[in-house]
Symmetry: C2
Subunit: 237 residues, 2 copies
């Protein structure tokens, strides 16, 4: 019995890190949905609360990184556990970026809250936001349950967000050309749309990490989307 | 003599990682200057070569991360060496993002290469690009020479890039409003400007890491710029 104790405590340490990732993921998810709601409803208070949550995400990232490194240094873990610990650090890095991007959307929501425009202009951005939030939720669940198949589905689905971003980009450009007074407003939405697209990329990174932890193998470096066919550039080429 | 050997070999491992960072930093620096040159000179070939360099950066990041973790697991390093190794992983993460952002500028350079517009429109973006390249070069030198004072200077100087980005944003918006045919072109420049601003942020992250490695203490979390006064939002508020 005594000899099992160190192993049990090591498992506890890994569980602890998993809990911290779940907490961090929960905050990042809420930041994204709140930022999108603040944007849609022109709710600057909600946007400010979203921005105020970001330091918690940053602190959790540092704590996770430090704890994972301390465990690696102390335990000299075997390959499988090392994969888990490196994976935890990578996921924390992606969640930190997602928090940052959601904060950026919230800032822009404040910037344009005073400008009332038709809701049609927001359709694409909102659709992207819903899809990105679903991707994030799914991949965090896939991490919690160590489900590589679900991670692969998230990884494949990212191309949908990219496709909506392309369409949204064209729509917003059209709005601007038709009504130059909307240029400043639409520019902020263009950046919001880009931020959401990048949140999708980070969810995809997490999917790759979950696959690497759970299946012990990396997914191919190339993602299931054409790199040349990426967003804005297509519009001009 | 024999007893010193493990310590020497550990120092060699750390030196190796330093070399890899220098290599990665060199590629990222070249990607940034090439992307900016491709944008200014409407040189799509150069832009394509810039894009082609990005997988090298990604591979180096993975290699550095894996090697640093392997060293941590094998050596159980003391606090100071652990700081160095964690720092190396952080810097590699920032350089990977810088490569990505430079690639994105190169893609947009291809997208707008066919559109000849006055060079005045590019003034702000080019100025930002030069400043960001200088920041990156300086912080990589600060890392190589373990110079925390130089890192702090980089850290402080980032606010300049942010200020030029604000001015550039306003300029580009004005161009679009005055000539709606320039909307698509200017939108790409807006994104380039944002990408450069973020490259500056990553150089600032590296400065923080260099300070953490060399001085053994973190810089304050708040950076020397007003968060509320950040770029685009100001224009509207």
């Amino acid at each position: 019995m005594m000899t099992e104790q160190p192993a049990l405590r090591f498992a506890d340490e890994i569980d602890d890190l998993g809990q911290m990732i779940a907490e961090m993921g929960g905050i990042a998810e809420k930041m994204l949905t709140d930022a999108m709601e603040a944007l849609s409803a022109r709710n600057s208070d909600l946007a400010r609360r979203t921005i105020a949550a970001d330091p918690d995400v940053d602190r959790l990232q540092r704590a996770i990184e430090e704890q994972a490194v301390a465990v690696i240094a102390r335990r000299q873990p075997a390959a499988e556990d090392l994969r888990e610990l490196v994976g935890v650090m990578r996921i924390a890095g992606d969640l930190e970026r997602i928090g940052d991007l959601a904060k950026n959307i919230a800032r822009r929501a404040i910037g344009i809250a005073g400008e009332a425009r038709g809701s049609r202009i927001l359709v694409g951005v909102r659709q992207m936001g819903r899809l990105a939030a679903l991707q994030l939720k799914t991949v965090l669940d896939a991490y919690a349950t160590r489900d590589p198949a679900s991670a692969v589905r998230v990884w494949r689905k990212d191309a949908e967000i990219d496709a909506i971003e392309e369409a949204t980009f064209r729509d917003l450009l059209t709005f601007m050309m038709e009504d130059p007074r909307s240029i400043s407003y639409c520019t902020h939405l263009l950046f919001c749309s880009k931020n959401i697209e990048r949140i999708g990329d980070h969810a995809t990174n997490i999917a790759e990490t979950v696959h690497y932890i759970a299946a012990g193998a990396s997914l191919p470096i190339e993602r299931p989307k054409s790199l040349e066919n990426n967003g804005a550039v297509t519009v001009l080429s």
